[in-house]
């Protein structure tokens, strides 16, 4: 899967939601970014800053009011299989077994025969430690397992870009750390262009090639931080001097751009 594809570029993207009986909510305004191909791009921002809106736009589920989005130079419109998303809360269909969830994509598009899709899903599920859970329903899986099943469900379609919207939120600390490591290995194996959205700084630095700092609503990308921690990355990198420096840089950038209760002004 090591092709150089999946560069997702957005220019001046804006999105406003009309809210009944209240002022319109501006989720994104003039949001410009260049997510590089084959990199783990992490978007970092506080909750409510428009991160999910950005994710939905990147995956093509909602259209921006203004601005344009291109994938490898081509206009990216509508939800097409080359940009797949892992949602904040599990989106596995509860009425299908894990295997049926995973084979859904290739079977409905007719790209793989049912038997081939099944075989391929078994490979992926085995790889993700879900070999014994193929015929189970999503409800029977733990949070971390659901996340891995969703990764398999997306990866079987060989997408150009993966968009993950706070995928490990809501997992307990142990499973979250396991999943982060797991995801890191997966990315380092495949080099799949990834846009990973999070509100946790530690997670952002641990995973990212680049961190895109997002401002408070209306959200836009206000800073880009190169994370030059070596790959393959191990948990031990969290104790290095460089990690501490990066954390400081990121914190400074975040506090500079984000209004907090104590810090009620934006220095930009």
């Amino acid at each position: 899967m090591n092709t150089t594809s999946g560069a997702l570029v957005g220019k001046n993207i804006s999105k406003t939601y009309a809210v009944k009986g209240r002022a319109d909510a501006v989720a994104l305004k003039d949001c410009t970014f260049h997510f590089e191909a084959n990199k783990l791009n992490v978007v970092m921002g506080t909750s409510g800053c428009g991160k999910s809106t950005l994710a939905y736009i990147l995956a093509g589920y909602i259209a921006p009011d203004e601005g344009n989005l291109t994938l490898d130079g081509q206009p990216a419109k509508g939800p097409i299989g080359n940009r797949l998303m892992v949602f904040q809360e599990t989106a596995l269909w509860p009425w299908m077994t894990v295997e049926d969830n995973v084979t859904f994509g290739p079977v409905v598009r007719g790209t793989l025969s049912r038997a081939r899709a099944k075989a391929r899903s078994h490979e992926l599920l085995d790889k993700f430690g879900l070999g014994d859970f193929k015929t189970k329903y999503p409800e029977q899986l733990s949070g971390g397992m659901k996340r891995r099943a969703e990764l398999a469900q997306a990866l079987i379609n060989s997408p150009d870009v993966m968009v993950l919207d706070e995928p490990f939120r809501g997992l307990d600390v142990m499973s979250r750390e396991l999943m982060q490591e797991y995801f890191l290995r997966l990315f380092e194996d495949t080099g799949l262009t990834t846009i990973f959205i999070t509100s946790e700084l530690e997670e952002a630095i641990f995973l990212a090639d680049r961190i895109y700092i997002m401002s408070d609503a209306p959200g836009r990308i206000v800073d880009v931080i190169e994370v030059d921690l070596p790959r393959p990355r191990e948990v031990s990198c969290l104790t290095t001097e460089r990690y501490r420096e990066l954390k400081e840089i990121a914190l400074k950038s975040l506090y500079g751009h984000i209004k907090t209760e104590e810090n009620d002004f934006a220095i930009s």
């Binding site: 939800p79 797949l84 989106a91 269909w93 409905v108 598009r109 999503p138």
Partner: protein, 281 residues
């Protein structure tokens, strides 16, 4: 990474094993407990009833004792074809009305939920007719349908129809957008999304509609039989009252109760079969 994978897998294996063991054990213990308590409660109920009648508690002077009811039941009903025919007739009416309500109500609910224009057109009419209690349809129904039988089935149908329509409609509206989106981006066609996402999403709502529907159907059929029929369990009960034999009234009531209970069991069974993924945790 293999050690991480393995430990995750091992942890989950242990967890799932433990949970199945637990459910098995709980299953074994729980059922007998409910059974003897339930049985005790029912025996207690009959004793209380008997005591109230025996001691002529206020209002109980014309209420038959449980023993009198049982005697009448075995003497006049248990071995007569007419009694079992009443069962059959009532069940048949309930089933016709109920099944018809499902057959028409489920598609209508789906259409209302998925087709905006049809919704704008039909929903006001549904909201206009829905608050009318099924029994208020009795006179018009008798005038409209050529036979009494048809009008009773129609009224029964009305009882379940709006419930199922509204439940399915609500079910469609509350489908999570992620479930749609995911299917869309994986390349599913409109018809695939309808078959594999929308239909299964609303099955739980259909089940709720069925549970509520079957209860209403029995309510309606019994009342309709008392008003407009010469057969069925409702008629049997009413005749008991008219002929001044309270024991027969109670036989009728208990029969209706058992009939309703049996239909609930059947509906529950069907619902469980419709939702295999709900039988797990």
């Amino acid at each position: 990474m293999p050690d991480v994978e393995e430990s995750i897998r091992a942890a989950h294996a242990v967890k799932s094993e433990r949970s199945t063991n637990n459910t098995k054990r709980a299953f074994r213990l729980r059922i007998p407990r409910i059974r003897w308590r339930g049985a005790l409660a029912i025996v207690g109920f009959f004793i209380l009833w008997d005591l109230l009648v025996r001691n002529q508690a206020p209002g109980f002077d014309s209420i038959p004792s449980p023993l009198a009811v049982i005697q009448i039941f075995f003497k006049q009903f248990a071995f007569t074809a007419t009694y079992w025919h009443s069962w059959f007739v009532s069940f048949q009416r309930v089933m016709y009305g109920f099944i018809l309500a499902q057959l028409l109500g489920i598609p209508l609910g789906l259409i209302l939920g998925t087709r905006k224009r049809v919704n704008y057109l039909l929903f006001p009419i549904i909201e206009l007719l829905r608050p009318i209690p099924p029994l208020a349809w009795v006179p018009l129904s008798i005038l409209f349908w050529p036979t009494n039988e048809l009008s009773i089935v129609f009224i029964t149908f009305i009882g379940a129809f709006f419930i199922i329509v509204i439940n399915v409609y609500d079910g469609v509206r509350t489908i999570r957008k992620e479930h749609f989106w995911l299917a869309q981006s994986l390349g599913a066609s409109q018809s695939t999304i309808f078959r594999r996402i929308i239909i299964p999403s609303v099955i739980p709502s259909i089940a709720v509609g069925m549970t509520l529907g079957i209860a209403v159907t029995w309510n309606v059929v019994i009342a309709a039989e008392m008003i407009a029929s010469d057969s069925g369990l409702g008629r049997l009960t009413w005749e008991g009252y008219v002929s001044g034999s309270p024991s027969i009234v109670v036989v009728g009531m208990i029969s209706i109760g058992i009939a309703g209970y049996l239909s609930t069991i059947i509906v529950d069974y069907i619902e469980k079969r419709m939702m295999p993924w709900k039988q797990l945790s």
